[in-house]
Symmetry: C2
Subunit: 248 residues, 2 copies
């Protein structure tokens, strides 16, 4: 309740202190695969294991500020201001860090075109790894990463988030690939096209511009992200299998 006026005094050190950190699940699309930014830990615990990038909150900044700062440091990107950065949830289980009580605010970030992995402010190595191949991560980062992937996949359905994976100018085929890679399914190009163009503000055409995509085929028209945030009606991912389970 933030109402601590009745707890034993005002002593800031009355309780065992909590460390507050941010952890980042940074996704990008490279080579037709969903990739995730990881750093290799140089110290115990979990020395040598991959982990999500992150760090401590500084006294003057919010979790959002800290996340954006870490994102800039770890990716080496200059224009971090425009990137999609979204708070996921907070992980606070005692014992998630064996050294001390760490409460971690997790974020999911989407980067359109990933620059080379860059070791950031830390000495540890950083790399982009295809999602799903990263093996067990340090701490509870496997769970955080899975939660982030779920969130991104779900948000593609009812928001215009997909453009955050794309460069400033993109084709509808590239936009469709975002959905296909994150969801792991194929979509009908014709119906996808109609659906996107029928949503006002999802994408804006760039008149006259076109680009070849796969090296072959007809050059595709270019689009820029529109101003719309929500997608009504939603673009539902195909149900894998009806799964049944329904009595009746």
């Amino acid at each position: 309740m933030s109402d601590n006026s009745h707890v034993p005094g005002y002593d800031k050190y009355a309780y065992e202190p909590f460390a507050v950190t941010v952890d980042l699940a940074v996704f990008t699309l490279r080579g037709g695969a969903l990739q995730i930014l990881l750093v290799e830990r140089g110290h115990e615990p979990y020395a040598g294991r991959w982990a999500l990038p992150g760090g401590f909150l500084e006294p003057h900044e919010s979790a959002e500020s800290a996340a954006r700062r870490e994102l800039a440091e770890e990716t080496g990107l200059a224009d971090v201001a425009g990137l999609h950065l979204e708070q996921l949830r907070t992980y606070s289980e005692p014992g998630r860090d064996p050294r001390m009580r760490v409460v971690s605010v997790a974020f999911a970030a989407l980067v359109p075109d990933a620059p080379q992995a860059y070791g950031g402010g830390d000495a540890a190595r950083a790399a982009w790894l295809p999602y799903g191949t990263q093996g067990p991560l340090a701490f509870d980062h496997d769970r955080i990463l899975a939660d982030a992937h779920d969130r991104i996949g779900g948000k593609l359905e009812y928001t215009c988030l997909a453009t955050a994976f794309c460069p400033p100018e993109f084709t509808l085929g590239e936009l469709r690939q975002v959905y296909e890679v994150v969801w792991g399914t194929d979509l009908d190009p014709a119906n996808f096209r109609r659906k996107v163009l029928a949503t006002p503000g999802f994408v804006e055409p760039i008149p006259g511009a076109s680009r070849l995509t796969g090296g072959r085929g007809k050059p595709a028209a270019l689009y820029a992200a529109g101003g719309a945030m929500s997608l009504h009606p939603p673009l539902l991912r195909p149900a894998h299998e009806p799964s049944e389970g329904g009595r009746r």
Copy 2:
């Protein structure tokens, strides 16, 4: 990243300590209105103002445990274990509490049938107030409450969350009222009924049971919450107005 091995030593007190709290937005349905549980602050700052219930994380518990503990204390409910409790997001802006640095993990909770407001462990007064009439709250709790309401409204669309507002046995009219009150719109009873019954696992009929609802009319069959969590396809709330604004 939770990797603090490179920061100046291991001194737990090297940084200004953060206080970590939980704040709860507890909703219920009473008298056909959406109500919210609030406590009146007895001390500065914001003495006399309403605030969301909440409190400090204890050293041995997670934010979820703390939230459930506070929920039990503030509502006086016995079977808090089965209630819907969902992490909203974390609010960490510096200065949100004028006394010290407080990072607050906010939760939204849904209570089927609200018992009388109960002053919990704190001396402060607690009460259920209709949502929208609560005036300005303490701290940034207005924003937290608005975020919680948005989240609940959105989750009704694509999850089976609505049953969390209902007692163990309920009629479809009562379930429909949950949607109508939270969304502030009217729904077609006939179509709502078909939609709910067509979703396997949303509700389970209780054979032979029936109850009068408004004092008049045909007694309605009773249902219990089913095991399904997600609602496919979603139950979209009617668009208020097309809002236009879309070029073409």
